[in-house]
């Protein structure tokens, strides 16, 4: 599956909100999942600001946005970066329900994060309706290849066995990060955009979208603690 990564074609560009075009803007909910410390927040920051900063562990959930222009649509990514802490874990199923995209992130230098990613996947499989969520397996910290504990092939084969997309990135160097977002944009638009009610349109001031019942019920969740 790794080989079949959708390539970015010339027409796709990534811009900040200012360069919005008069085409439909569709909302895409993307959630980052994975063990603490694998680089979810760093990736999210790359996606939205193309920056790398040393971040502190995430508290609760961080919400970031980025607009991606495709040739025939504009996608407004609403990126949810979770804390990935156990105190939020018991409730995460609620959180990723209704997301269009899930990035399952692991750290290529920490084998147990790869194992954890598979646990996340199992939970995700319990929740998502096939076809409604595009799942990417993301091996991050590609710049630390010398400390690699998870071979590229292993990531690839897990992805192809499970029918996921796969990529290795480095939030630090920025390598493959933009490519990832572009690929996600294309893939989401292809898979979900065409579906009836797959993606909702974004308005300048989005009305509170709570009637959209099965979408994103993160907040029912973020918040209870249980052992």
């Amino acid at each position: 599956m790794g080989e079949s990564l959708p390539r970015v074609h010339g027409g796709a560009q990534q811009h900040s909100d200012t360069l919005r075009r008069p085409v439909h803007t569709l909302r895409v909910k993307m959630v980052l999942l994975g063990s603490s410390g694998v680089g979810k927040s760093s990736l999210a920051l790359r996606f939205s600001k193309d920056e790398f900063r040393s971040t502190s562990p995430t508290v609760g959930c961080a919400y970031l946005t980025q607009v991606v222009h495709l040739s025939n649509a504009t996608l407004r990514f609403e990126i949810w970066d979770t804390a990935g802490q156990e105190k939020y874990h018991s409730v995460t199923p609620l959180y990723y329900r209704g997301a269009h995209v899930a990035l399952l992130v692991y750290d290529i230098t920490q084998r147990e994060t790869f194992v954890r990613a598979q646990v996340w996947l199992k939970e995700l499989e319990k929740q998502y309706i096939p076809g409604s969520t595009v799942i990417w397996l993301v091996g991050n910290k590609g710049d630390l290849a010398h400390d690699r504990q998870v071979p590229l092939e292993e990531g690839e084969s897990l992805a192809s066995n499970k029918g996921l997309y796969f990529i290795e990135t480095s939030a630090l160097s920025g390598e493959q990060v933009n490519e990832l977002l572009q690929s996600v944009a294309h893939r989401v638009f292809e898979c979900i955009g065409a579906q009836q009610g797959g993606l909702t349109e974004w308005q300048e001031t989005p009305t509170v979208d709570l009637r959209h019942k099965d979408s994103f019920n993160l907040f029912a969740s973020c918040c209870k603690v249980g052992p």
């Binding site: 603490s36 927040s41 999210a44 920051l45 939205s48 600001k49 900063r53 040393s54 971040t55 502190s56 562990p57 995430t58 508290v59 609760g60 959930c61 961080a62 919400y63 970031l64 946005t65 990126i79 970066d81 804390a83 990935g84 802490q85 156990e86 105190k87 001031t205 989005p206 509170v208 979208d209 709570l210 019920n217 993160l218 907040f219 029912a220 973020c222 918040c223 209870k224 603690v225 249980g226 052992p227």
Partner: protein, 637 residues
């Protein structure tokens, strides 16, 4: 090694059953001689045995943490000489009232009348407790008599060598160390000297002795140390006593048990027990703010030896940040909030902006710049006649400061305000208004966990209104003020905390303080001044002999602390100031503060009504709880 242990009976005594602390003290003193002294609640007869074992356990603890041979064979002579040596003679005088102690008392704790149970904490919620002072502003005269005593006390104090001024060198070391090794405490080698030399260690463990948090070094590496601590605690618990503090030559060990958590502070900072206990309480509250008290209790009821680190994973930095703030920010010492000085017209316009951007179940809107409060607007009914407690605000500010991740986007996170309600969550929306500088932060608290999008919409309204009024650039110009504005040449710094601003209007306790300027511009000197303030504060709030006024002539400065029914004031003068000058200066200062009041404090915090759905109110059974809010606060803190 000298050790003294202070134990309190967990059963609170009524006034009638005041134990004879002094008698106990004496007994312990004689019995333990040079080895150890134990203060224990209740029966003096029983104190003997625990004293021995406790002293032994404590030696063990000290050996665990500080296995320095010099210290462990250290005789009394060592302990007496040390402070005297480290202090240049003839440099200090202080108004000590009748509170003199013989030199050997340094290792003994002689302020035993802590039977006032509400005084578990230094935090100065009660103005000069018990000592009702005549009206404040005009008693320069009456108090000036006390200055005379100062001179009399001078000689004694020199012998005594108490206070922090002579200890500058160890403090300096600790100060620099702390700032330089800020980032990687977790990996520290706990057997290294540098680890031992940290000025203040803080540990959190579960009742079952499981490590939960250590300020320096990883909890695993310290599990045996924590084990010894726990042994101490459970030993004392078995006798229905609660261990409170242990004193040795070099260290004060303070214990605080809150529910299933035991917090321990090992400090060489010479702070008072109450102050250290107050700091431990902040640590406890910060943990509560992340997990709630109810869920912590539930967890440990379920499973006694649960590893709470699983839930706190990733939150250590928040606790680290809190402890650094506690050491460096006097807000915690004063339990008051520092707001950014701002023209009242600007502050009012900001408040109005917040007041207009509301959504159902929004309960607090808080604007912060440079880590200080700009304004705070609250919902009418939620906090009808209770106010947001400073400690809750401190926790919020620390949360914002400790997580740079906040700067990356909009945050939505559950957060408990332990003093408001320790068992419920609020949902905090946090976002910076001035990226990429990220100095102006908006914090919106809702009781509705689903309200993210509507609360985020409030932010956009606020952003727009601030844009229209050019607020950001006005805020950017605001900042701390210089003490020179007061126009008193010898005055170097001060901290002023009114008990009610203004006119008995019950609201958030605040204090004002100028920037620390030369000679207190370096981190070391800042810390030294803060230590002097902490020392003065400790004396003012001493439970054994609270003082209303202290005139303290130190080596490099002269300090004056004064507490009245209306305010608490700490001032720092150049060393050459005379008493008369100091008095005049303070009169001038008070006049200046009065004049600047509108700029220095949030004076009339507005409210809004978002008619929260009562079922969603974070305060739950509000009506039953509201009455007890105040008492609850006092007994908790």
């Amino acid at each position: 090694m000298k050790v003294s242990v202070d134990i309190r009976h967990s059963v609170q005594h009524g006034d009638g059953t005041k134990p004879d602390w002094d008698g106990i003290m004496e007994t312990a003193n004689h019995q333990e001689g040079e080895a150890a002294a134990v203060k224990i609640g209740d029966s003096p007869l029983e104190s003997n045995q625990p004293a021995d074992s406790l002293a032994a356990s404590f030696s063990l603890l000290e050996n665990h943490m500080f296995p320095d041979p010099v210290e462990s064979n250290g005789s009394a002579a060592v302990s007496r000489i040390e402070p005297v040596n480290s202090q240049p003679p003839d440099v200090s005088a202080e108004h000590l009232g009748l509170d003199e102690k013989p030199p050997s008392d340094q290792v003994m704790k002689l302020d035993p009348e802590k039977t006032k149970t509400e005084c578990q904490n230094d935090v100065s919620m009660q103005p000069a407790d018990g000592t009702t002072e005549d009206d404040a502003t005009d008693n320069d005269q009456s108090d000036s008599g006390e200055f005379v005593v100062t001179m009399l006390a001078k000689a004694k104090l020199e012998e005594q060598g108490i206070g922090v001024k002579g200890r500058s060198s160890p403090l300096l070391e600790a100060g620099t160390q702390e700032s330089s090794s800020f980032t990687s405490h977790r990996d520290e080698d706990v057997t290294a000297d540098s680890w031992r030399q940290h000025r203040k260690h803080v540990f959190v463990l579960s009742e079952a002795g499981k490590p939960i948090y250590s300020r320096y070094g990883s909890e695993e590496a310290l599990s045996s140390t924590m084990g010894v601590m726990m042994a101490l605690v459970s030993f004392v618990q078995s006798g229905d006593n609660i261990i409170r503090s242990v004193y040795s030559d070099e260290h004060t060990v303070v214990f605080l048990q809150k529910g299933p958590l035991v917090l321990v502070c090992v400090s060489s900072s010479r702070q008072s027990e109450q102050q250290l206990q107050g700091e431990l309480l902040y640590v406890y509250y910060q943990i509560i703010s992340m997990l709630t008290q109810a869920s912590i209790s539930r967890i440990f009821e379920h499973k006694k030896n649960y590893d709470l680190r699983r839930l706190l994973a990733g939150s250590e930095k928040i606790l680290d940040g809190l402890l650094n703030l506690v050491d460096s920010d006097p807000s915690f010492l004063l339990s008051a909030v520092h707001c950014l000085p701002l023209a009242s017209s600007l502050r009012d316009s900001l408040s109005q902006i917040l007041q207009k951007a509301i959504t159902p179940n929004l309960v607090f809107s808080i604007l912060i710049a440079k880590n200080q409060l700009l304004t705070i607007v609250q919902e009418k009914t939620v906090i009808e006649d209770s106010r947001l407690e400073p400690a809750d605000v401190h926790l919020l500010l620390n949360l914002i400061g400790a997580s740079s991740a906040f700067q990356a986007g909009e945050i939505w996170t559950p957060i408990c305000l332990p003093l408001f309600n320790p068992d419920c969550y609020f949902y905090a929306y946090i976002s910076y208004l001035d990226p990429p500088e990220c100095t102006v932060c908006l914090l919106l608290l809702s009781t509705d966990k689903e309200a993210f999008y509507s609360v985020a919409e409030c932010k956009r309204k606020i952003e727009e209104a601030m844009m229209a009024q050019n607020s950001l650039s006005l805020i950017a110009k605001a900042g701390t003020y210089s003490v020179s504005q007061v126009g008193v040449s010898d005055l170097r710094h001060f901290m002023y905390k009114p008990f009610d601003v203004p006119d008995n209007y019950r609201q958030l306790t605040q204090f004002t303080s100028p920037e620390m300027e030369a000679p207190y511009s370096s981190e070391e000197e800042k810390m030294r001044l803060l230590d002097l303030y902490r020392y003065m504060h400790g004396r003012i709030h001493s439970t054994s002999r609270p003082l209303k006024l202290i005139y303290h002539v130190a080596e490099r400065e002269t300090l004056l602390a004064w507490v009245t029914s209306k305010f608490e004031l700490y001032t720092c003068f150049s060393p050459l100031v005379t008493k008369a000058c100091a008095i005049t200066a303070i009169t001038k200062l008070l006049r200046w503060i009065k004049k600047e009041e509108d700029r220095l404090f949030i004076r009339y915090p507005p409210k809004y009504s978002t008619t929260p759905n009562p079922s969603k109110s974070s305060r739950g059974g509000k009506s039953d709880q509201q009455d007890s809010t105040d008492n609850g606060f006092l007994s908790l803190l």
